[in-house]
Symmetry: C2
Subunit: 756 residues, 2 copies
Amino acid sequence: MAVHSSPSRLQRRARPVGLVALVACAVAPLFLADPVVAGEGMWLPEQLPAVSEDLRAAGLTVDADRLADLEAPPLGAIVSLGGCSAAFVSGDGLVLTNHHCAEGALTLNSSAEENLWRDGFLAANRTDERWAGPGSRVFVTTESTDVSEAMFAARDGAADDLSRWEAMDRQEKALVAECEEGGPWRCRVAPMFNGTRYLLIRQLEIEDVRIVYAPSEGIGFYGGDEDNWRWPRHTGDFTVFRAYVGPDGVPAPHHEDNVPYRPAHHLEIGTAGVSEGDFVMVAGYPGRTFRYRTADEMRFARDVSTPWQIERMQDVLAILDARMDEDDEARVRLNSMRFGLANFEKYSRGILDGITSSGAVARSVSREQAMREALRATADARALEALDELAAVIERGQADDQRERLFSWMRWNVRMLGAAGTLWRLSGERDKADDLERDAGFQERDWPRIRERMERLDRSLDAVADQRLLAYWMAQAALLPETARIEAVDALLERFAGEDDPAEAAAHHVLSGTALTGPEARIEAFEASRASLAASDDPLIALARDLSSLEQEILERSRARAGAESRLRPVFMSVLQESAGTELYPDANGTLRVTFGQVRGYDGPDAVTYRPQTTLAGLLEKERGEAPFASPPQLLDAIRAAEPSPWHCDALGSVPVNFLSTLDTTGGNSGSATLDRNGRLVGLLFDGNYEAMASDWVFDPVRTRSIHVDVRYMLWVMDRVDGAHHVLREMGVEPSFISAPEPAPVPTRRGRRGRR
Amino acid sequence: MAVHSSPSRLQRRARPVGLVALVACAVAPLFLADPVVAGEGMWLPEQLPAVSEDLRAAGLTVDADRLADLEAPPLGAIVSLGGCSAAFVSGDGLVLTNHHCAEGALTLNSSAEENLWRDGFLAANRTDERWAGPGSRVFVTTESTDVSEAMFAARDGAADDLSRWEAMDRQEKALVAECEEGGPWRCRVAPMFNGTRYLLIRQLEIEDVRIVYAPSEGIGFYGGDEDNWRWPRHTGDFTVFRAYVGPDGVPAPHHEDNVPYRPAHHLEIGTAGVSEGDFVMVAGYPGRTFRYRTADEMRFARDVSTPWQIERMQDVLAILDARMDEDDEARVRLNSMRFGLANFEKYSRGILDGITSSGAVARSVSREQAMREALRATADARALEALDELAAVIERGQADDQRERLFSWMRWNVRMLGAAGTLWRLSGERDKADDLERDAGFQERDWPRIRERMERLDRSLDAVADQRLLAYWMAQAALLPETARIEAVDALLERFAGEDDPAEAAAHHVLSGTALTGPEARIEAFEASRASLAASDDPLIALARDLSSLEQEILERSRARAGAESRLRPVFMSVLQESAGTELYPDANGTLRVTFGQVRGYDGPDAVTYRPQTTLAGLLEKERGEAPFASPPQLLDAIRAAEPSPWHCDALGSVPVNFLSTLDTTGGNSGSATLDRNGRLVGLLFDGNYEAMASDWVFDPVRTRSIHVDVRYMLWVMDRVDGAHHVLREMGVEPSFISAPEPAPVPTRRGRRGRR
């Protein structure tokens, strides 16, 4: 059953495949492209030897076996920030990632008076480095163990699907607990190939992360939302952190006595960069893809869930924008949420557009028909039955979707409600005697992080916006069909039915009446027992409490579905695997992956060709002097000065800024190191083009492209614009700044430039 | 003095030059480009033999002498519609031009019930052809005579600049009267090279023009304002008219007895089209360029007049849009004005952007410094003095500009005020005994056209919008500086000073109180004497009368300036010519010109390359199903049917839709026939790319491109979409429609699709 169970299979020449090759074999080609040039495939490190032939053909000079080694460079230098990727670039723990991945840390360190996000930051020395905040982490993957047998044993011994989920959950927690025992580890069990295989991943967790250098918004966020998911780009989307550990070298909470972490490996900077056609690869932590979903799931995403989500996000963005226009402090606090939402809204539209215009649903339907025909031909009744049952489980989930989706958006979007819900649930889980019985995310190991979240909530909370958002979501809940109501909200709205706007009045009652404002009150509630919370008459705690029975119901339904899926999806996958007849890579799930391909442009819409590199000359041409195309004056001056620099590319007649590759990446890959054929860092992945959004469902090798900051632009900015010469030197690069005797004072405060 | 006075000079190998080469010789190169590939130059037909070497090098196979012949094909088939260009494409007078050039005629024939602009039109037979309206004309240029000596005599014999203008005006009218005598001619004296030379142009004037076929808005205006001045394009911007004359073959007013005009020449259709790199040329009537203006004039356009104009147009567009949203009939009537204004607003922004970003002002300053230095070196005191005086005259004109510009915009924009002003002025001019003393535009030859305008005014008039626009312009006039007031408006606003909105009240008083509504009342006023109009108490006639003294003052000032410029600009031109050291082409002035170059894409902004051809496949990709990207279903069906057709281009894998060329064109060129190396029609010029807007001032051969409808798209649409098979046959093209026994009924009525 397991796709990778036989070594002979792993040794077989593999090719990037996914949906593309599957369809090519089973039904009809989806896209035509040179399989070496096309970068499809988010490979597990352990799969790299199996694709070594393709790696070599694409231009890699490093040995594939060495490349697969988590404890050797370059993979040994690749880290996760939890949601973003990054890499060590110095022996003293410098971590290079995207500017947009540092958004939270920069916002946390900003106020209306001092705005690190807007104005940039350069620590004059190590003492000056700013703590990125209690939630910031650096995770270093050190080990990956196959635990399929243990998980299968739990799965296959259960009587029904809910207890199946519970048995697997217990098994998973036991494996994690054992893995984390006695060390600064963070472990997880990651299902691969839709549960065909389970890997136990162990990561070193570094808890003290500090900001060393960030360019200003006019560089790091150049192009803003307008250019997001677009090419051509001119964004200096990079930032430098440093990982700190206790004086004994072991990870410890933030403390002034902590010292820089000395990683076993860090990346060498490939100062020469790459050119069109060159081999590149990206190592990082892609979050989620859906390449092995059924046609029904794709159709539901296209016709129901994605359109609903887009409309809700547009409403929420309008609420945030109105509030951010009213108040400068609110603007700073809401910036991060707004950025994330705007990004996700655009992404959702891209998904919708891509699934629709590619005709992928119809192709998936054909693919599944072919799969069933093949099963009928071999009279595989059990597999056919499993596919039918999977379809029924999926349909059941879709019926529950609207209420569940609304509920989880409300909980995520209304920050105070989210906090109260967490506190309520925590109090119940903490009452359980056995830590393994506690829900994932609420075990002892999670308590410190929950506490941190409660402490730092205010930094990104605007009470006015929060109340408007609660009113909005309650009004949305009032529109749910009779068969899927949220009773706690109904009851609350009923209480205020006499008001002009019952939702607004109810939201005011809940959030103006709560005492959970401020970290102290929340820490108190964090420490409170379930009994005392149950007795509380705080209106917010009351709402969280009243919502908890629905939350419990939702949890149980989704767990039962997950239990069923753990049986059924592997069948779907193995049938798919058979019809593919070649090696597959697993869907992204936040684990370390490597994708490789080349620097390549693409043909855009009719009559438009996109070349793969942009330059300083192009940046100057794009410059408008107002957001989101407002570069800092120092940058414009440096371009116009046109002094010779080692980062100049003669073929382009300028310094390269961003480049395109054929690589297969997605959210979570942001900040991933882009490596050349020798494993040197030549850029940072930070975005994809418009077509890349849909690639989470359907990978189109003809037009899907990843977007990278060119290493030469980063070096040029640090050298010529921001005077970050000591950071450059620490990265092993000699500054070449020549015309001014002293670097410009940094950070430079400039006039406030509003974003749209 | 005259640039073309010596034959030897005309014989010299000439090259497209203009500002580019001038600067290249005198100061520094403006742009670098292969002079053969670059299409700069709007050549007089008589200049073509002088550029024959370049024509041959670019690929022309027709003899340049024959190409210069107005009475031979292809130039013999090229016509003007007055504002647009066109060409005869059948022996029975079919005229092919742009859809947007037929906008007025289609609107005139439309109502809320039957909308030819929106739904398209195909005459089933000749009886069914619709009269394009009293203002529609076809002009065929038959002769061009050098009258420089006569004009110079008038110019050089005058005592001062105002009488210089008057003497030249009299001379011009005498030449025109003589030229038009005894035939259906329309003549004009056209100054070339800023008055260095004068040509008397004689045109045959055909007065009865009818609509034969127009595709629907979803084809002819595909992309709408959004795509206007943009590439890539997918617009079927073409329409077919037919010219009619009296039964005796002589042009006559519209009458049912009229018969199709049989032109001496019509173009052959080049059904094979053209490909990237192929020679193309355009013959047509470009309206106006400013390539030989001074640096001061360019600076004024950049800093003062263009920004002012953009703001006013945006205000007016907002007024029109609001009104068009209110009322469907108003939408039809205002459509043409709105289209023209939106186009001009975008054009003005393009000009502003181009002049600014090209740094052309600074280069012009250098050019003029170099010119003066050369004059000082040769101690040419007279020429230096003339340049100084020209600068003073230009400065004087700029001081008067704001009031004059506002006045003429108000008169043009408020349709009823324009009509009343014309009627008032006409009554005065008609009182003059000598026709030659009458102002140009108000001579006997002009009276029938003025009468026609009065008759058809209502077709494009919306009384509500007209009143709002009058209020707007009066409010604008109230903002003029104390030194340049419009007294008649001041007096009127003073009368309503007590109202909430004096401008609105005054506009209401004038336009709700006038009796000039309807053609009968206006014809009555058209025939009325000056004395009776002077005695009228109609508030609109009163306003026109009160404004007339300012109008007279403005006329005299501008005439005195023009008199001075007629002396001084030729000096500037000849100095420019000397420093250029090579042949120049004259600025566009609405006379017949030929420009030649090649089918070529271009490099857009950083990392973007535009290829020169779009296709049906690209159209399908662009299609949104809503305006301005809403194709008619028949067209989408025909694309999807993908039946083989003679218009398919194998290299592109589809039917070509639009293409780019390096040609030098501007407003007025719209509808120009695009000809291949053999003089066959391979497309219709209909637009330029964004960079082409600024080319009226500064021609950038690297990025300036003209945009054409590919002949194969026109044929395919007529054949496969609209079933215009008899029109195709008349153009000498055999229809290839194969899959349906009968063409679809045309015009097809579809649901109303609002434009933005």
